[in-house]
Subunit: 250 residues, 2 copies
DNA sequence: GCTACCCTGTGGTCAGACCACACATCGGCG
DNA sequence: CGCCGATGTGTGGTCTGACCACAGGGTAGC
């Protein structure tokens, strides 16, 4: 019962990687597509000649990466179902890399600035961008009685809505991940702001300004306003008054 | 065991998530840092009151995300060691998302264009960018007898070297991931090129042109040349002559 | 002093056993 | 005949115990 199916083991050092590659292969050759259900864990283990634990480790990776979603029970919604929600995986990746000091916060802010200014300019140049979701979020941020955490959550969703409006799913997912990576930083920094009410009002006005520039088709203004909005906030947040907008060349 | 970071966690439905959060928490409070070794799987399981399988599922996720590296055996290099190599995780994420149709290739190319033109312009504006690694790669690409796969690998490394020179680790890791996501696409597309020798020569010349523009401090030229270089190649690769450089606004 | 051996602890894997869950089925009851 | 609850079945989720391969360190032997 040592379990060694001796032939396969010598070539494949890691059983869980074999499972991962198998699923990737089935995705690439079209045998699996979003919405489809994976075989059961026991079935998959038997098919590939590995133990169920190895299958589970691979499925766990796929789940964290946003490739599948698992449900217990039975019925059509049960089991592992292929989804493709890159945002989740990107968020986990960024969050953990920030925690492990793999991603400096300054680099994340700089990248966000890079992506978002491009998105804003892109939207301003687009013939008919769908800005309704973003506008709705701005209205929601006008609600009185929002605590800072709620406000920042809406703020993040607003920026994400702009990325979504651009239609580029990679940019959208990356933005979602970047935001997750610095979520803790932004929340901690908010506590350092003396007059939150004033800051919130300023942020609201800046958001409106960005949206107005996009609506007016003024790409340069949209870019500039968004840049000032983001870098201004992080400058205010930063405890050592560092300039997060120019961290690239020391 | 007051390790709970969030507010209300009455129940813990997923044991492996608890492990993940525990490790993330130890990273955030500085108890773990890159280079440190995690406790053994059995120890971790006992500490957190979960089974070893659950610990392994969490470690597998951390490994794929580029957070840890595991070695068997004993000694100082054995066990799970905290590393922070975001490129690996990003690559796995992008590759699988492309496989699962979560990321359209056009969006990846567009994002790469976005990031890379920015990087090129940034380098051109930088006072003293380190372009030696990129230059070395260009020399390596001049070697005769390179097969297309080798050439494309060097090509990808060259573009990555530019990102690294910018000093932004998030951009570098993202570029690495984007490249991995479309690696298969680029390889498959190369087979469609009739006269590879000519194309390779053109790519070489374009690379030199980009590098020269950066060296000359001409940000606009660097941006334009890089844009033309990338979008030109993917236009040549694309089977349906689609225009991957402007996929955002249909 | 040096070498060869065994010991120990590590991750890697498998097998089997439960549990909770959710749907499917079929029984009895009104 | 129709509804409703108990039971059945298959799913993921988890734990436990057991092996294996591996690599370093200690020790016995030379």
């Amino acid at each position: 019962m040592g379990g060694d199916t001796a032939s396969a083991r010598s070539i494949e050092p890691r059983a869980w990687q074999a499972v991962l590659e198998h699923v990737e292969g089935r995705l690439l050759d079209g045998e699996l597509a979003p919405g489809d259900r994976l075989p059961g864990e026991r079935q998959l283990a038997a098919d590939l000649g590995v133990g169920r634990s190895s299958v589970r480790e691979a499925l766990r990776v796929l789940e964290v990466l946003g490739l599948i979603r698992t449900h217990t029970g039975s019925g059509p919604t049960a089991g592992a179902i292929i989804i493709a929600t890159p945002g989740g995986g990107m968020s986990a990746l960024m969050r953990l890399q920030v925690a492990a000091s793999g991603f400096p916060v300054a680099d994340i802010v700089a990248t966000r600035l890079l992506l978002e200014t491009h998105v804003a300019a892109d939207l301003a140049a687009a013939p008919d961008p769908d800005l309704a979701p973003a506008a709705r979020l701005l209205d929601a941020m006008d609600a009185p009685g929002l605590d800072p955490a709620e406000f920042l959550a809406l703020d993040a969703t607003f920026h994400l809505a702009l990325a979504e409006a651009s239609g580029n799913q990679v940019v959208t997912a990356t933005m979602a991940g970047l935001r997750s990576g610095i979520e803790g930083y932004a929340l901690a920094g908010q506590a350092r702001i003396a007059d939150w009410t004033t800051t919130a009002a300023r942020l609201r006005a800046e958001h409106r300004g960005v949206l107005d520039a996009i609506r007016a088709g003024d790409a340069d203004a949209a870019r500039t306003r968004l840049h000032d909005h983001i870098s201004g906030y992080y400058a205010e947040i930063s405890p050592d008054a560092g300039a997060p907008e120019a961290p690239a060349h020391p």
